[in-house]
Symmetry: C2
Subunit: 602 residues, 2 copies
Amino acid sequence: MASTLLSARDLRFLIYEWLDAEALTRRPLYADHSRETLDGALELAERVATDHFAPHNKTNDANEPRFDGERVHVIPEVKKALEVYAETGLAVAGMPESVGGAQMPHLITSACGAYFQAANLGTSAYTSLTAGNARLLLAHGSPEQVRTWVPPMIEGRFTGTMCLSEPQAGSSLADITTRAEDAGDGTYRLFGNKMWISGGDHELTENIVHLVLAKIPGGPPGVKGISLFIVPKYLVDADGSVGERNDVVPAGLNHKMGYRGTVNALLNFGEGRHTPGGSPGAVGYLVGEPHQGLAQMFHMMDGARIGVGAGAMAVGYTGYLKSLAYARERLQGRPLGGKDPERPQVPIIEHTDVRRMLLAQKSYVEGALALVLYCARLVDELASTEDEQERRRARLLLDVLTPVAKSWPSQWCLEANSLAIQIHGGYGYTREYDVEQHYRDNRLNAIHEGTHGIQALDLLGRKAVQEGGARLTLLVETAGATVERARALGGAEAEYADLLDASLRRMSEVAALAWAGGDPAVALANATPYLEAVGHVVVAWMWLEQLVTAHGKEDADGETFYTGKRAAASYFFRHELPRTGPQFDLVASCDRTVLDVPADAL
Amino acid sequence: MASTLLSARDLRFLIYEWLDAEALTRRPLYADHSRETLDGALELAERVATDHFAPHNKTNDANEPRFDGERVHVIPEVKKALEVYAETGLAVAGMPESVGGAQMPHLITSACGAYFQAANLGTSAYTSLTAGNARLLLAHGSPEQVRTWVPPMIEGRFTGTMCLSEPQAGSSLADITTRAEDAGDGTYRLFGNKMWISGGDHELTENIVHLVLAKIPGGPPGVKGISLFIVPKYLVDADGSVGERNDVVPAGLNHKMGYRGTVNALLNFGEGRHTPGGSPGAVGYLVGEPHQGLAQMFHMMDGARIGVGAGAMAVGYTGYLKSLAYARERLQGRPLGGKDPERPQVPIIEHTDVRRMLLAQKSYVEGALALVLYCARLVDELASTEDEQERRRARLLLDVLTPVAKSWPSQWCLEANSLAIQIHGGYGYTREYDVEQHYRDNRLNAIHEGTHGIQALDLLGRKAVQEGGARLTLLVETAGATVERARALGGAEAEYADLLDASLRRMSEVAALAWAGGDPAVALANATPYLEAVGHVVVAWMWLEQLVTAHGKEDADGETFYTGKRAAASYFFRHELPRTGPQFDLVASCDRTVLDVPADAL
């Protein structure tokens, strides 16, 4: 039976036929790799995700982490899965040689990660948060900090978290009140409460490395006074062994609708439960310079945002494959015009509306996978090109695509999960099947790491206008090159190229119209419809790229891969892209309905 | 604190200012009623729903019904709530005098029912299923059947169910295999399994009256051979007292994502656990003539479908009110252009995107409430008018609006619940707050009592074309009259009247274009986008009706009701109605993408 996590055939198509991963292996940074090592990693990820992550996905959901007032208990399958994951070396694979990594392209490690997210979003969150944490320290930590904390994280002995939110400051980081007092010995002592900390406490690993945003008293107000600290659960001795307990303790767990496999904790820092070194406060180590915390954290955050999009995609993708398998097996009803009840029932995939729901899902999840991998490829470009112009292009494109790569899969792959439930009918609504959990798990993704609305402000308020709109212009140019290639091919490719071309123009023009009055309140009043419309345009571009890549390729006997790609592309261009028309019109009109409604009239 | 179930002010506006319930009380059927009795019922419903249904909504969810292999256990709060409900007399209120009812307009009993649905969808399902069951027997049962079963149901001593689906036949009723053998004594013996039976077993009441679809051997194949039977859990003695156990037993419960407060069972009929009267088979009593079961059941089903829409609306409505209350209280961030971190944080309702999410919810839930009440008013018209033409109009309009009233709230009030979560941020995703349960509960509504896709086929395949399209034509005419009234008012009313007018024309024209080729497969390939577009047009009409009703009315000091109505109407016309453009274009183009995609290319 084919895997119901991701389609390996689709990954091969995107990674090799489209994004030319083999070209990356000819660059110095990735020179140790070849098609063989990349394929090996992908196959290993699929196997370990299938055998060690997927089996306890439901168990995790039904037996969420439990806090006994002192310790957090997690089902044993999670620890076992993380141990096996560590043994695979996949966490180390993408890291630089300097810390023992294999310098594998991000394109491949992202695809590997997606297998784990599809198999078990809850358990895989520990690995992705830890990787993000390690990368942040590689970028901003001192050599000593890197030596102390990074190897145990990428080897799976420690996990990592990011501690931003506080009960009174979720999206509003200017208002955090956790304070870090200079201890005079090169360390700080932290006091405060952090909320929504994924992986915040557990006994899955020897230690937990918290990266914590806090304010050093006397610093500037608001976000300008935020610094970043390493605050381990256990202090580490000079020889690297785990030592005294630090004063960071769980105060409670959040009980969520989904995503239950990941511990989500309220953490207290410096409440006095422990007194490391005999003094009050949680011991913290400043990363880089004071007051640079927000910028440093955003180094991790941008990657985390694309990671959220990747998770949303992966959960959408597996839901699609499961509903596809169900639709092929489940017998129910008869075709239109052949309702004779004496004839046997047909598999529900024979019903047009079921095919519509499958094709919609396919267009969302494969479109989202393409987008996530395209972003990963840009990360590789940024890391590996020698050409300064290319680096700048990659950086700007990644900047403008990040809010889209975060928000679009969170919205549309959730919709895919809803359609997967719908295909299963009443069964899909029960906990006997997997799809209801996917739907619950996926609903978080529009909230964490910057809400949907915050992504919209980021796109229309910053990314679309900074540096004279350079990012949006570059996006239009880059997608415009795809339009030209598709036009040259004629046929459906040319037809859809025209549609994309018109949408790209409208996307630019509408951003200008929104800002024409110069009033941010008016410009941003409809930022969310703008974000959603841009998302559809970007994914339409991803579909045109796939069509161009598939051009002229015929399916081998018994295969239908390219036929399916063409059908899903057609679905996206005919059923989906037109949604953007009214959205762009609304933004262009600077509609003031939501801006002007008095709060007390709601 | 204002109720967070439904807005009593909105109900008064819709029921009295718009739908003129007082005019109904001047008709003979409703002559016992007055504004006072109607208000009394509404206030009673709000109070009992608040005090006895809402408090255990979460408890029900966290402690779902449990089957010990023999008996089904439900938390005691449910039984208590149903007892209090029975004492209120609300179940009897809408019934005819002939069975001791108070003949209250359906408009009012629907609104009362919505309070209970908003408070606790799970517990209220027992009451609405029982009412539907009683109404079906009133319409199709023999006088003796009515005497035996209806009074105990409306008095709350018995509950009722509808048993349609079987494990192999969910949406495909032609394939049911439960058989009913003539026992030769005027009764039948039933054998078979029924699936997804809400309220299928419990000990909340003395007895359960199952209405069961089954086939009498030798009858015609498919749906033409379906008959309807009363199959009680306990036989009833001649004096009406509950007697011997019948052979209908639970085989298991379904464990669902939401809607957990309602027992949902797999029932076995005639498996031999009991042998009533010493013979095998569950004793059943034929309702009406053999082979009329489907038509009879649809008498209940049409009402049940609008009831599903009402439930979806109610859950959406309470989610809206709760997120509104949260948005007024939760402090977070600062307005655009006033980001000084030294200033205090503002309530999140000050953020434009939060107002957008509130206004969207308001436009969905108040639009849905208007639609549900409009349908209830048509039921009253049908029941109370003396004019044959008016009866026909009411019946045809109700016919064409039923798939919309079922599907539109199921889709958009679920979306409202998603926005309610989003406004709560991370908190909304936790089980500490109510909104995540609303979202889970509401997701069922697009599935049960005819899936979303089945509603689409019903609309475009039947309701839009039967009798030369008379129903759609009548809908256009009726909404057209609203357009004319609104145009005469000028201003925003006239502006939106033009938009609705164009949409109504397009709605008709597109149905004709879809069917132009005469091939049902092509016509119905895009039935779902058609249903969704028509839903938006119908709700736009509901908003124009509300605008016209509000015209010239000024808010009293300290009130903002009409201002809010106007803002929500503007939102719907500017942000929502335009979505229908691309949907109608797609249907009009007879797009074949989903029709032509080969099943094996998915």
